[in-house]
Each structure stands twice: as C-alpha cells, then as structure tokens.
C-alpha cells in the first residue's frame, strides 16, 4: 500500500492519551496513511524540524502545554504544517481560539471516522493557511445571505461558546426559540457540527476575531 513512502502524507498525532493515539494510528493506517505519534506538545515541538508535509492532529487539552500553545509555537518557528485540533464535546471556546491561532479545522471527540479523514484530506490538499479567510466562495455568500438578523445574533453567541440557556437569557428569548434558531442556522450554513459552524462562520467573516473570546 505504501509504495512511495517519501511522498506518503504523514499524520502527526499529538495526544497525551495513549489509547486515543493508538486508535487514531490504526484508523489512519486502515486508509494507508503513515502516523507519527507524540505523547505531548513539547515532544512534537522538539521534533518540529522533522515535521514533513502532511498534517498535524493535536488534542487541545494537555498538561503543561496545550494544543493552541503548540500551534502558536510551531508558527513562530516558521512551521506552517496544517493543523487540525481535536477536543472533547463542548469545548467551543477553546476551538475558536485554536482556529484563531491558526488551526485549519476542529473535530470533536468522539470522531466520526469519515469526518476526520475528510478533514485531514482537505487540509493536506488545501494551499497554505495564509489566505483561507478571504476564500469566500459564492456558495458561502449564498449561505450567509439566508441568515436573518436574529439568527445572526444567535450564531455569534454560539460561536462565542455560549450554551442555549445563556443565549436565551442574553437575547431575552425562550430556550426553545433559541434551539429553533440554532437548528435553522446549522441548516442554512450547512454545518454538520458546532465545530464546523465555527469554522464556517470564521471563514465567512461573520464573526471577527475580536469578537471571539
């Protein structure tokens, strides 16, 4: 399967949880990708020079040095390896910060294998990170155009990591209404998850960096 190892994309997995690393290794191996594991951020950082083309998958929450810190440190050293952050359900605030720090995508645990593989593939195939916020396609503009002002307010709150309850209180709506708005926003933006919604919102410029926590 791996006939030209030098050109095979490598997935660098950084997670302090051995079982998650191990499971990811098997998952990527099952589709013929090579995996290099690091048990923490500083190990990945010290091996930064050898990070070749491919993709970095890093956990957000790790002791000593977080995934965000890792991405920032890599960028500082001039390493522009595309990075996907993975994190537990509900860590929207952190995910947004990661995207802001330069992560290309954000996948929630537990992963849907296809989502993760798609994210990895699209990240690997995508041109370097610099211009992605500007690459607002006509399709994306169409999606954003459908959003009402009330829905936009809800969307901003969701991206800011607020829960339904908090949004309802802030906007003086019933939680049920917020839920309805949320569902419509997801549908109109064609987002499969909150993480995707956050990515899309950032990319569409709906949410400015300064608005993020």
């Amino acid at each position: 399967m791996l006939e030209t190892p030098a050109r095979t994309p490598v997935v660098y997995v950084v997670d302090d949880e051995p079982s998650v690393r191990d499971a990811l290794r098997l998952l990527f191996q099952s589709v013929g990708m090579k995996v290099v594991e690091f048990e923490n951020a500083s190990a990945a950082l010290s091996g930064a020079d050898e990070l070749d083309s491919g993709c970095l998958i890093t956990d957000l929450r790790m002791p000593m040095m977080s995934g965000i810190d890792l991405i920032e440190a890599l960028r500082e050293r001039g390493c522009h390896l595309p990075a996907i952050v993975i994190s537990a359900h509900g860590d929207v605030k952190l995910a947004v910060r990661a995207l802001k720090a330069g992560a290309s995508d954000f996948v929630e645990k537990p992963f849907n294998d296809q989502d993760l593989l798609d994210a990895v593939n699209s990240t690997i195939n995508r041109p370097p990170v610099s211009g992605w916020t500007q690459a607002l396609s006509g399709d994306m503009a169409a999606r954003v155009a459908q959003i009402t002002s009330r829905e936009l307010a809800v969307l901003k709150q969701i991206v800011a990591g607020q829960s339904n309850k908090q949004i309802a209180r802030d906007l003086d709506l019933s939680p049920r209404t917020v839920e309805a708005h949320r569902a419509r926003v997801m549908q109109k933006m064609q987002a499969g998850s909150v993480a995707e919604l956050v990515s899309l919102a950032l990319r569409a410029g709906i949410v400015m960096d300064e608005e993020l926590v």
Binding site: A23, L26, L27, S30, P110
Partner: protein, 676 residues
C-alpha cells in the same frame, strides 16, 4: 491599755486569756498569794534545810501561770518566793538568790515550751507530754537547784533546819520537779480545755473512787496487806486516762499526791521506810513515774480516739463522694464477687443491693462479654490499669453499655487481690456518638455528591477519552475488515484496543459510583498506597483541567490502615481539588500537586497533599478549618471542616501548614493496622 491578750509563742495553743488591767493585777496578786501559801505550806510540812523543802508545788504554780499569762508574772513569783525565804529564816541575800532562781526556773520552762517545743498545754498528744517533761520540767528544776546547791555548800548547817547533804539536794530537786509535774498540768488543762460545766456522774464516781482508794492505800500500815491497795490507785488512773483525758488524769494524780504527802507527813502509808528523807525520796520517785506514765497514757488514748475519729470522718467523706459520683462504684473480693456496691451502681443497674452483694461480678455481664471482663480483671490483678466496655444486664429490662475501670486495691501479701471498679453508663453517650457519626456520614455524602457535581465536566472529559478511542478503534476495525482478508491482524488489534478501553471506561464509572454512593460507613483494612493512587485517578481529570500536574509518592510499603476508604479518599480528594483550584487561580509558574503516603514509625501511616500554589498567611491558617470559612467566591466552606471531622473520627488529626508564595501542605497520620 485596758485590755491585752496574752502573747504566747507561735504555734502555741492559745487559751485566749485576754484580761483587763484590774483583772490582770488581781491575777498577779492571786498568783503571789497562792505561791506564798504553797511555799509556806511546803516548808511547814517538809522543811529540809537551807531553803529547801521536801516537795515544792509552788514550782508548778509558777510554771503554769507563766505559760498562761506570760513573763509578767515574774514579779509576783519573785516577791512571793523572797517572802517565803525571809519568813523561813533565810538571810535577805539568800532569799533574793533563791527568788531569782525560782523566777529563772519558770522563765526557762516558759521559753523552752512556747518558743522551742511549740507545746500545746492541753497535753493531748504524746509529743506534748514528752515536751512538757523534757523541756518544761527537767531543765527548769535543774536550774533552780543551782542556787540551792551553792547555798548548801556555803551555809554549812547554819539556820533552823538540819544540816544538808547531797541526798537533801536530790530530794529537793525531785520535789521541785514533782511540783511542776503535778500542779502545772492541772492548772493548764483546766484553763485550756473547754470548761466542764456539767460534769457527768462518772466524773464524780471517778473522784470518789480516787479519794476512797487513796485514803485506804495511804492509811494502811506499810507492811500490811492493805498497802497493796496502792496498786489499785492505778486502776483509777487508767480509768481517768482512757475514759476521760489529760485533765481528769492530772486531777487524779494530784489527788494521789496530796494523799501520799499527807500520809508521809503523818509518817504513815507505804512510803514510810526509815527516815523522812528516804520517805520523801521514794514518794517523789513513785509519784513522778506514775504521773509521767499517766499523762502519757492519757495522751495516747486521746491520740488514738482522735485518729479513729479522723478515719471515721475520712470514710464518711469518701462515702459521700462515692454516692455523689455519676458513676457507680463497686468492690470485688478475692473471688471477684461483689463486696460493696454504691447506691448509684444499684440505681444504674436497677438491682437491689441484697441481690448484688456476694454475686460474681461477671454474672452481671452479657455472656458475650464475660471472657473479656475476666481477662480485664486478671490484668487488673497483675497491676495493670485497664478500662473495658461491656454490656451489663439490668434488672428485668435489657442491658446497658457500661464502661468499667477496675483498679487493684492494695491487699495483704499472698491474698487474692481485691478490686475496686468505677462503672459508668455510656449507653447515652455512645448513642450520641453514633448519631454524630451518622450525621458526619450524611454531610460527607452531601459533600461527595457536590464534589461530583463540580467535577462532572472533568469526568465527562475523562469518560470521553475511552469512548473516543473505542469509536476510532471500531471504525478502524471496520475499515480493515472491509479492505480485505489481509488486514485481519490490525483489525484484531483495533478490536482488542476497543475492548480494553471499554473496560477502562466502566472502571471509571465504577469508581465514580463507588465514591458518590450513600452507604453505611464501614472500617476496613486498606492498603494506604492503593487508597492514594485511587484518589489520584479520581482527581486527575479535574486537576488536569486546571493545567496542574498531579504526582503520587507512594512510600507506605504496603502498610494498611483501618478506615472508611471512601471517607479518607474524600478527604484527600477535597485537599487535592482545593490545591488545584488555588494553583489555577493564582496562576503559579510551578503547577504541581504531590499526593504522598508514607509509613510513620513506630505505628503510623502519614498522608500528605503538597502543592506549589500560593499558600496562605498564618492568620488564615487559623481559620481555614472553621465551618463556613471560605476563600472561594462560590464555596460554602464546609470542605476542610468536614475533612477535619472525618480525620478526627478516624482518631487522627489534620494539620495544615503554608507559607505565602511557597505552597501549602496538608497532612494527617492514621494508626497503622496490623493483622492479628
């Protein structure tokens, strides 16, 4: 200066003779008159020559009045003695010399008795009688004899009386001593003792017997059988000494002396041997020995009855004390049968005293506790201090939980030891303790549930790790399997991984459930290191969320402790969570918590939670264990107070130590559990 109390030496029994000036003058006059009378009588009855009389009661008078009224009576004594000297034909110079001697005699006795011997004139103690004889009679009479010996040497038979010789001086000396010994106690005891207002019939009988027996004894012919009646006088003396006291005894002795002297004067009675001097000699010796013996006897009898009274009073006091006690008191004989039971014990046990006395104590105790009680009593007999708790059968209705503290009573050698035991009803206090433990249990449970509530996110994260791994393993396995038969190996690997993670997930769930479950508190032996490592696993997810590293330092080497494991883990978890929160809030550079278990010789296991957080000031340390004291905005401040209660319930003590900026350390030590 109308009134002046008589100053006597420190420690001297003060008969509190306080007299107005006219009375004092009267006393001095009376003393002078009595002294003069006694002196003239002595010379009239037994003149020996050279200013010496055969017996000299005036000496007793001077010593007694000096002791009662102080040295101011010296003047009266001096003049009286001087007058007696002149009136019995002595030259003025001689009379002056003898009068000086008489005053000196009384002054020496007064000084020695009051200032040195601390003498009690009631003569109730043997030491007072001894002091009276040694310090009051002997030196004084010796001193008084010195001027007489001088005169004897120079006078050479001049004067109206026969020529003196050594025996004359000796008789004079005995007469003087006898005077003090016989007269002074009568005066002193009558003054010092409470006045005898209504003498009993026995007192009159005593006097009558003394008069009759003395009269019979001293009128008998010296060789006749009736002279043996002299010994019968001793019966009266014994009677006075044993039934009455020093006062009556000295009365009887004086009476006897009067009869004896009268008889000697009449030249009759048992002491008439050859001449008057010899008669006086033996008479004086007899009276002296008899008086000293009688006074000693009376003092001994009085001392004995006083000590018997003291014993009785102290027994009464002890008895009152015992009956006042909240605890019951019992004593057991050598066969461990109940010999004494206090009223309180009867009330506590519900038994009647007659049902208890003579019963083996162990019979009162529930069968299950009997062996332990026997063992404890055996330990007590060997001299050990023990205390045990047993179920005591109450009369008719149920049992009471009793704390029994037996002590061996000092007994004679070789005899089986008698035991006294204090028995307390601890049923109520035990029930209260149970109740407070139950309450502690409830609060502890509430605290655990609350902790879990707060830790839920961390746990959700924790549980999501194996779930994530399982999902990915399963997905990988499916892909391997669908990729073709060549991938069976990796597929199996993925399935193995999934299984492993599923087990891990359920282990996490079990741990959480075990921690939160409301269950009966139970003490079980636990390996200290395992307790600590399990706490580390429980705390780790949340600690990590604070960006803090949690390390364990397990050095208890398999030592066990007898604890409620959940409660001890709760304490450690609370401490770790507090530490993590403190570090998280302070944003310390070093972010480390160490959970430590270490054996603490000789018989302890120490637990410690050491953090690198901000620490706290000593002033705060004093308050942190107070309930409702909290430094957290959303805390209720029950955590540390609860921790301390739990540790105290485990007979340990929770200590906190901290330095601002250098972290805090919480430690507690529990007793090591050793398998029997």
């Amino acid at each position: 200066m109308s009134e002046q109390s008589v100053q006597l030496g420190a420690g001297y029994y003060n008969p509190s003779i306080s007299l107005a000036l006219p009375t004092r003058l009267l006393v001095h006059l009376l003393t002078a008159a009595a002294y003069y009378g006694a002196g003239m009588l002595a010379f009239a009855v037994f003149p020996i020559g050279n200013g010496v009389a055969g017996i000299w009661p005036a000496a007793g008078l001077s010593v007694a009045t000096m002791l009662l009224f102080g040295p101011s009576v010296s003047l009266a004594i001096f003049f009286s003695d001087f007058l007696v000297g002149l009136n019995t034909g002595l030259p003025t110079g001689h009379a002056l010399l003898l009068a000086t001697g008489a005053v000196g005699e009384a002054l020496v006795a007064w000084y020695l008795l009051t200032r040195i011997a601390r003498f009690d004139p009631r003569l109730r103690r043997i030491k007072d009688v001894t002091a009276f004889v040694i310090a009051g009679v002997l030196p004084a009479t010796m001193l008084c004899m010195i001027p007489r010996m001088l005169l004897t040497a120079v006078m050479d038979g001049a004067g109206p009386t026969p020529a003196p010789n050594a025996q004359t001086v000796l008789v004079g000396l005995l007469g003087h001593g006898l005077g003090v010994l016989l007269v002074a106690p009568v005066i002193l005891s009558w003054t010092a003792e409470r006045p005898l207002l209504k003498p009993s019939a026995e007192f009159y009988l005593l006097l009558l017997a003394a008069v009759l027996l003395n009269a019979a004894a001293f009128t008998a012919t010296p060789s006749g059988p009736a002279s043996a009646l002299l010994y019968a006088v001793f019966v009266v003396v014994l009677w006075a000494a044993l039934r009455f006291g020093p006062r009556e005894t000295s009365d009887v002795m004086l009476l006897t002396a009067i009869f004896a002297t009268w008889a000697a004067w009449r030249a009759s009675g048992p002491f008439i041997i050859s001449n008057q001097i010899e008669a006086l000699y033996s008479l004086s010796l007899f009276l002296m020995v008899a008086t000293v013996t009688a006074l000693l006897l009376a003092a001994a009898a009085r001392e004995r009855s006083a000590s018997a009274q003291r014993v009785e009073e102290s027994e009464l006091a002890h008895r009152m004390l015992i009956e006042q006690m909240r605890e019951g008191v019992i004593t057991l004989d050598g066969m461990r049968r109940l010999a004494f039971v206090s009223d309180r014990f009867c009330a506590l046990s519900g038994w009647q005293r007659q049902d208890l006395i003579g019963r083996p104590f162990t019979q009162l105790v529930a069968t299950a506790d009997r062996l332990r009680l026997e063992q404890a009593l055996s330990d007590t007999e060997r001299g050990q201090d023990v205390q045990i708790e047993v179920a005591l059968e109450r009369a008719g209705e149920g049992t009471m939980l009793a704390s029994v503290a037996p002590r061996r009573l000092a007994g004679s050698e070789g005899q089986p030891a008698r035991i006294m035991a204090v028995v307390a009803d601890i049923t109520e206090s035990r029930r209260a303790a149970e109740l407070s433990r139950l309450r502690l249990q409830q609060i502890a449970h509430t605290n655990r549930v609350q902790s879990m509530d707060e830790m839920a996110i961390a746990f959700a994260h924790e549980i999501s790790q194996p779930l994530t791994a399982i999902t990915s393993y399963a997905q990988a396995a499916r892909r391997f399997l669908s990729a073709g038969s060549g991938a069976i190996g990796p597929a199996r690997e993925a399935i193995d991984g999934a299984e492993r993670e599923a087990r891990r997930g359920s282990e996490i769930v079990r741990r959480i459930r075990g921690f939160v479950q409301d269950r009966k508190s139970e003490r079980v032996p636990q390996v200290a290191d395992l307790l600590v490592s399990e706490v580390a696993q429980l705390a780790e997810p949340e600690v990590r969320q604070h960006g803090v590293e949690l390390r364990t330092d397990l050095c208890a080497n398999g030592c066990k402790v007898l604890v409620d494991p959940v409660q001890i883990q709760q304490v450690l978890l609370n401490l770790v969570r507090n530490a993590a929160e403190a570090i998280g809030e302070a944003g310390s550079a070093t972010r480390l918590i160490t959970l430590k278990s270490v054996s603490a010789p000789p018989d302890g296991v120490a637990f410690a939670v050491i953090d690198s957080g901000p620490g706290f000031a000593p002033a705060e340390l004093a308050k942190i264990f107070d309930p409702f004291y909290t430094s957290k905005p959303d805390g209720i401040g029950i955590g540390l107070a609860l921790c301390r209660s739990i540790i105290e319930d485990h007979d340990g003590q929770l200590h906190g130590a901290a330095e601002p900026g250098r972290g805090a350390t919480f430690t507690f030590t529990l007793k090591e559990f050793r398998d029997a």
